[in-house]
């Protein structure tokens, strides 16, 4: 799709071409925008380099922050951007894109073969990420559920999504330094905080999506919980607990992390009948918790077997995965707990979905 878009000239701003009308030009900007986001997102998800590299190769401007009724085919000149306090859909995508720009840089850094300096490269990117996060438009800055009482469901979900993208970027940026020598306390703290926040967000969204919650009428948005984000967070937190010592990660943080992992396990228990991804994530979480809390391991295994047998009878497709899920997940996880450096472990875990 990216190649086709390049052939069709979407990567050049329409203002260079007088024969493209204002309406068409804005539509082309929006389409190109979606393509760059899609490209960046899939690269991040799959752990592979992106198709579109630097920003120097294309000059299409961001689409203006306008509602759909602000312009149409007969518009001669595009109206200016709406104010920051007026949340349009485009504003959400622009805010996300700014974070993803930095995310692309850090992804590029993960793939590069040159050596990375902690102070120059990692901390500089960290500062850039903070700067972009602090400059998020007011309407999209993260607010807790109690502060978002009068806001529509989609706006709340967009705020959470923006926040989760930022937190994911922190996790990936600092992940390699949890076990680095010399120890980088800043990275360990950042990873722990970011991971815990992702799982807290998931807990909040899940609770609010139940009947009676604030998000129960916008089920589509809240159902896209993006378990892959939570899996990333859960594994990072697991590494933080297992691979750091007492002074780097104190007991309170550890207790909170374990509580969050348990809550996420409960959530995936409820979801696993509907979704293979959730079932797989569930097996993975059980393994993680077993490693993290070996004393409770025997109780959990017996409970897990009991709950697994019931859904297996009702859905013929599911047992193959659930029956085979635990051993294959276990083998993939073995390398993880030793602090291996390969970024592709997230994509490997999620790759089973392609075997349909």
């Amino acid at each position: 799709m990216t190649r086709q878009a390049l052939r069709l000239g979407y990567h050049r701003d329409p203002k260079h071409f007088p024969h493209i009308s204002v309406f068409d030009g804005e539509m082309r900007r929006r389409t190109w925008f979606m393509i760059t986001e899609f490209d960046s997102l899939t690269a991040f998800q799959l752990g592979l380099p992106a198709n579109l590299h630097t920003d120097d190769e294309w000059d299409t401007a961001h689409p203006r922050s306008l509602h759909d009724f602000d312009f149409d085919e007969s518009t001669i000149e595009l109206p200016a951007n709406r104010s920051e306090l007026d949340p349009t859909l485009i504003q959400f995508f622009t805010a996300k894109a700014n974070i993803m720009k930095v995310q692309k840089k850090l992804l590029h850094q993960q793939f590069t073969s040159r050596s990375i300096s902690y102070d120059n490269d990692v901390l500089r990117l960290d500062a850039e990420l903070e700067h972009v996060h602090n400059n998020t438009p007011e309407a999209l800055k993260f607010k807790s559920m109690s502060q978002s009482f009068s806001d529509p469901g989609w706006l709340v979900m967009y705020r959470y999504t923006c926040n989760v993208v930022y937190l994911k970027a922190i996790c990936v940026l600092h992940r390699n330094y949890i076990t680095a020598v010399p120890r980088r306390q800043y990275s360990i703290d950042r990873c722990a905080q970011a991971g815990m926040q992702v799982l807290t967000h998931q807990e909040t969204i899940y609770n609010e999506s139940k009947p009676g919650g604030q998000l129960s009428r916008d089920l589509w948005f809240s159902k896209s919980l993006h378990l892959s984000n939570c899996l990333l967070a859960a594994v990072i937190l697991c590494q933080v607990i297992l691979l750091t010592n007492e002074e780097e990660c104190n007991a309170d943080t550890r207790t909170e992390i374990i509580r969050l992992l348990r809550t996420t396990l409960d959530i995936t228990e409820h979801m696993k009948e509907e979704s293979r991804e959730a079932a797989r994530f569930n097996s993975a979480l059980e393994l993680i918790l077993k490693k993290v809390e070996p004393s409770r391991a025997s109780d959990e295994t017996s409970q897990a077997t009991a709950t697994n047998s019931a859904p297996a009878q009702s859905r013929p497709a599911a047992p193959t995965l659930i029956a085979n899920g635990t051993p294959s997940v276990r083998s993939e996880f073995d390398g993880l707990f030793n602090g291996s450096d390969d970024i592709n472990w997230v994509s490997q875990l999620l790759r089973c979905r392609y075997f349909r």
Binding site: M1, Q4, A5, R7, L8, Y10, T31, M34, I35, E37, F38, L41, T42, Q45, L46, T161, V164, V165, R217, D218, L219, W220, K223, S224, H226, S228, N229, E274, S275, R276, E277, S347, L350, R351, R353, Y354
Partner: protein, 87 residues
């Protein structure tokens, strides 16, 4: 009417079927009717794919990118397990 425009329309039908189902708009209607609607979701996606093939999606033309993008989205939303895609 350009074929790719029709492809977009089919993808939009497919996506809106999924959305209607998720928001519970079918509750209260007869079960038979809602099953039929859900099955049509797959048929719409297939129809969109057929339009794309008919219009030869490897050649650059108007509406191509939008049609491809909407098709990807409708495939991604087809089940609760997106194949590692957009957020």
């Amino acid at each position: 009417m350009p074929v790719l425009w029709i492809a977009q329309l089919f993808s939009i039908f497919s996506i809106s079927t999924v959305l209607k189902d998720t928001t519970g708009a079918f509750n209260g209607k007869s079960k038979h009717w809602s099953d039929e609607i859900l099955q049509s979701r797959g048929a719409f996606t297939t129809a969109a794919a057929q339009c794309l093939v008919l219009a030869d999606y490897t050649k650059p033309q108007k509406f191509l990118i939008e049609a491809l993008f909407l098709y990807c989205q409708s495939k991604g939303m087809a089940s609760f397990d997106p194949a590692g895609e957009v957020s």
